[in-house]
C-alpha cells in the first residue's frame, strides 16, 4: 500500500464514525428534536456490538446488536421527550450519562478480550486495480453503508413526500398537526433512525476502528458529530464534506508531526476544530441559507391542542 493510499484509508476510518452518528442526528433535528444523547447511544452501540460479536463470533451479528442497542436508547429518549414532554436538552444529557455508565457495567466482563474485526470488502479484480482499487472497492462494509445512508437521507429529505413531512414537522409542528400529520409518530421514527445510526457508529469503533472494548471508547466523538450537524446547516452533502474535512485535517496533522515539521503538536491537534469553526463562519455569512435550513421547532416539545 503506497503512502497516499494509507493516508486516505486512515482519513476515511477516522471520518466514518462521525459521519454515521451525524447523519442520524441530522434527520432527528430536521424533525424538530434535539437529541444530545449521541455519545450515550454510540457507546452503548459499541459495547453491545462488541459483546454480541465476541459471544457469537460473527461481526455482523455485532453490528445488528449495536443497531438494536442504539435504537433502544433512542426510544427511551423518545418516550421521555415525546410522550412525557421532558426537556430535550436535559434528557439528552441524561441519555449520554446513562449510556456511559451502563456500557461500563455491561462491558466489565468484556474488557481485555480479543475482538472480532469486520472484514474489508474484497471484490475480485476490481479491488486489485492500481491506485484506486483498494480505496474504492476495498473498504469495510460500514464505509459503504455510511455513504449510502448519506445519499439516501439527502434524496429522501429533498425529493420525497416522507422528507417533506419530516421537514414540515420540524419547521412548524402545529401546522403539520393541523394538516393531519402525526407529529409525535414522525418524531419517534426519526429518533429511532438516529439511534440506529449512532449504534452503527459505535459498532464502527468497537468492530472496525479499534476492535476492542474499553470504557469510554467513544472519547467525545458524539459531541463532534453533533457540532458537524450544525456545521452542515442540516444539509447531508455538507455533512459528509464536514466529516471528511474534520477527519482529514486530524490525520494530516498526525502526518505532519510524524514528518517532524516542527509545528507544535497542540496547534496541530486543535486544527480540526479551528477548521470547523472557520468553515462555520464562512457558511454563516450567507444568512439566508442558514435561516432557511434551521428547523424552526428545534428542541420544542409538541403537545397537540385539541
Amino acid at each position: 500500500m503506497s503512502a497516499y493510499e494509507a493516508i486516505l484509508f486512515t482519513i476515511i476510518t477516522a471520518s466514518t464514525p462521525l459521519l454515521l452518528a451525524a447523519i442520524g442526528e441530522l434527520v432527528v433535528e430536521r424533525s424538530g428534536v434535539l437529541n444530545l444523547g449521541i455519545e450515550g447511544m454510540m457507546v452503548m452501540g459499541a459495547v453491545c456490538g462488541f459483546a454480541a460479536a465476541h459471544v457469537s463470533g460473527s461481526a455482523w451479528l455485532g453490528v445488528l446488536a449495536a443497531v438494536f442497542a442504539g435504537v433502544a436508547m433512542s426510544l427511551l429518549f423518545g418516550v421521555l421527550t415525546q410522550t412525557l414532554i421532558t426537556n430535550q436538552v436535559a434528557t439528552g444529557l441524561a441519555i449520554t450519562l446513562l449510556g456511559l455508565g451502563l456500557s461500563g457495567l455491561i462491558g466489565s466482563d468484556f474488557v481485555g478480550l480479543p475482538g472480532v474485526k469486520l472484514a474489508n470488502v474484497s471484490i475480485p479484480w476490481l479491488s486489485d486495480l492500481p491506485y484506486v482499487g483498494r480505496l474504492v472497492f476495498g473498504q469495510d462494509p460500514l464505509v459503504y453503508i455510511s455513504i449510502a445512508l448519506t445519499a439516501g437521507v439527502g434524496y429522501v429529505l429533498r425529493r420525497t413526500r416522507i422528507g417533506l413531512i419530516i421537514r414540515a414537522v420540524g419547521q412548524n409542528h402545529n401546522s403539520a398537526h393541523a394538516l393531519g400529520y402525526k407529529v409525535v409518530a414522525v418524531r419517534y421514527a426519526c429518533i429511532a433512525f438516529g439511534g440506529a445510526t449512532s449504534g452503527l457508529a459505535g459498532a464502527y469503533l468497537s468492530l472496525v476502528y479499534t476492535p476492542l472494548w474499553i470504557e469510554n471508547m467513544t472519547a467525545g466523538r458524539g459531541w463532534i458529530a453533533l457540532a458537524l450537524v450544525v456545521f452542515s446547516t442540516w444539509l447531508p452533502g455538507r455533512l459528509a464534506a464536514g466529516a471528511y474535512l474534520f477527519g482529514g485535517v486530524w490525520i494530516l496533522g498526525l502526518y505532519a508531526q510524524g514528518m517532524g515539521v516542527g509545528i507544535p503538536s497542540q496547534l496541530l491537534s486543535s486544527l480540526p476544530y479551528v477548521a470547523t469553526i472557520l468553515a462555520l463562519v464562512v457558511i454563516s455569512t450567507n444568512r439566508r441559507l442558514s435561516v432557511i435550513n434551521t428547523p424552526a421547532s428545534l428542541g420544542q416539545g409538541f403537545v397537540p391542542d385539541r
Binding site: 500500500m1 503512502a3 494509507a6 493516508i7 484509508f9 486512515t10 476510518t13 477516522a14 464514525p17 461500563g104 462491558g107 466489565s108 474488557v111 481485555g112 478480550l113 480479543p114 474485526k117 469503533l205 476502528y209 479499534t210 476492535p211 476492542l212 474499553i214 470504557e215 469510554n216 471508547m217 472519547a219 467525545g220 466523538r221 486530524w250 490525520i251 498526525l254 502526518y255 508531526q257 510524524g258 514528518m259 517532524g260 516542527g262 503538536s265 497542540q266 491537534s269
Partner: protein
C-alpha cells in the same frame, strides 16, 4: 446479683462503644483515576494497587475510587468530595491533578495526599513516581535489535517531562545498538482515546516505522501493530493478550507495595510528606516476559534490565548530547535528578521538536 448484672451491662456497653470507636477509626483511602480501571494500562495498575490494600488490610481500611476524572476543575471538586466524605488518605493518580491536589490539601490539613508523577509537595502532600524510563531504555535496545527499517514510532500523550524522559531513554537505549536509529514522535494530546492512538500508530507505520511504542493508556496502538505485522511494546500493564505476535515485552508498573506501605504509615501515624522515585530496584517498574524475539536479543535485554536493577547501569549515563548538539552530561557523569524531573529537551537523534 443486681450488681453483677450492672457490671455485665457496663462491660457490654463499653465494648459496644469501643466497637463503634473502631468502626469510626476505620481508615478510608480514596483514589482518583484519570481513566477507567478497565483500560488495561495506567489506571488498571493503580486499581490493582488499590485492591492490594483491600486484600492486605481487610476490615481495617476501606477503599473508594472515582474513575474518569478529567484533569482540571472537575478534579478539584472530586478530590474535595472525597476529603469531605472522610477519606484520610487520598491518591491522585495523574500528572494534571497536581494543582487541584495542592488546593484541596490546603483546605484539609488533616488529610494525607499522595500525588503521582508530580513535583510539588507540602506538609500533607507527598509525591511519588516511578522510573519508567528504565524500562524505556530496555525496550529501546530491543527495538533497535529487532527493527529492519531502523525507524521506530513513539506515540506521546502530552509533552511533559515524564513523557519526554521516556522518549529520550528509549532512543539512548536504541543508540547503544544502532547509533543511526531514528525515532519519529507523534503527540495525540490525550491520555486516553483509543481511536486517536490507533490513527497515530497507522500514520507512523505508513511513514516507515516498524516498531511502535506508546506513552498513552489504551491497547489500541498495540492492536494496530499486530494487524499490520510490525512489533510493539506494552505500556503500564502486560498487553500481550492484545498482540500475541507483535508484542515484544511490556513495561509493567507496580504500585501495590508503595500503596500498602503508605497506608500502613497512616495507620501507624508515621506518615510524613516525602518524594518517592522508585525504579526497577524497588520493583516499582518491572519488565514483562520477553517474547517474539531471538534468544540473543532476549539475553541482551535481560542483561540490561539486570544491570539497571543492580544500579550498575544508568540509562542517562554520559555522554548524553541534547538535540542541538550541546553536552548534557559528559562521559563518566550521569544526568542529575533535577534535570531528569524537569526534562524539557530531546536527546540527539529524535525526529521531532518540542
Amino acid at each position: 446479683m443486681k450488681k453483677l448484672l450492672t457490671v455485665v451491662a457496663g462491660i457490654a456497653l463499653a465494648s459496644a462503644l469501643s466497637m463503634s470507636a473502631v468502626a469510626a477509626e476505620k481508615l478510608k483511602v480514596g483514589f482518583i483515576y484519570i481513566g477507567p480501571p478497565g483500560d488495561h494500562g495506567w489506571t488498571y495498575q493503580h486499581d490493582q494497587g488499590r485492591k492490594a490494600i483491600d486484600a492486605k488490610f481487610g476490615g481495617q481500611v476501606e477503599t473508594v475510587f472515582v474513575e474518569n476524572v478529567p484533569e482540571g476543575p472537575d478534579a478539584e471538586r472530586t478530590i474535595t468530595r472525597l476529603a469531605r466524605q472522610g477519606a484520610g488518605l487520598i491518591f491522585t493518580t495523574s500528572f494534571g491533578y497536581m494543582d487541584p491536589t495542592l488546593k484541596v490539601a490546603a483546605k484539609f490539613p488533616d488529610v494525607k495526599f499522595e500525588h503521582a508523577t508530580g513535583y510539588k509537595r507540602t506538609d500533607n502532600v507527598s509525591t511519588y513516581s516511578s522510573r519508567f524510563y528504565e524500562g524505556r531504555y530496555v525496550i529501546g535496545q530491543i527495538a533497535a535489535k529487532m527493527s529492519k527499517s531502523g525507524v521506530a514510532g513513539y506515540i506521546g500523550s502530552f509533552p511533559i517531562p515524564e513523557v519526554v524522559r521516556g522518549i529520550n531513554a528509549f532512543l539512548l537505549g536504541a543508540q547503544t545498538v544502532n547509533p543511526d536509529f531514528k525515532l519519529k514522535v507523534v503527540w495525540v494530546n490525550s491520555w486516553f482515546d483509543p481511536g486517536r492512538e490507533a490513527d497515530a500508530a497507522k500514520v507512523l507505520i505508513s511513514q516507515g516505522a516498524d516498531i511502535i511504542t506508546q506513552h498513552t493508556d489504551s491497547t489500541a496502538a498495540v492492536q494496530v501493530a499486530e494487524e499490520q505485522g510490525v512489533h510493539a511494546f506494552g505500556q503500564a500493564s502486560d498487553m500481550s493478550a492484545f498482540a500475541p505476535n507483535a508484542l515484544l515485552t511490556s513495561i509493567i508498573d507496580n504500585w501495590a507495595d508503595y500503596y500498602i506501605a503508605r497506608t500502613q504509615a497512616v495507620l501507624d501515624g508515621t506518615w510524613v510528606s516525602t518524594d518517592t522515585f522508585g525504579g526497577m530496584d524497588s520493583n516499582m517498574v518491572n519488565m514483562g516476559p520477553f517474547v517474539n524475539m531471538p534468544a540473543d536479543v532476549k539475553a541482551v535485554a535481560q542483561a540490561t534490565a539486570a544491570a539497571i536493577k543492580s544500579g550498575e547501569l544508568h540509562p542517562f549515563a554520559g555522554p548524553v548530547y541534547k538535540q542541538d548538539g550541546s553536552l548534557a552530561a559528559a562521559a563518566g557523569e550521569v544526568v542529575d535528578l533535577g534535570t531528569l524531573l524537569g526534562m524539557d529537551w530531546y536527546v540527539k537523534g529524535v525526529d521531532d521538536q518540542l
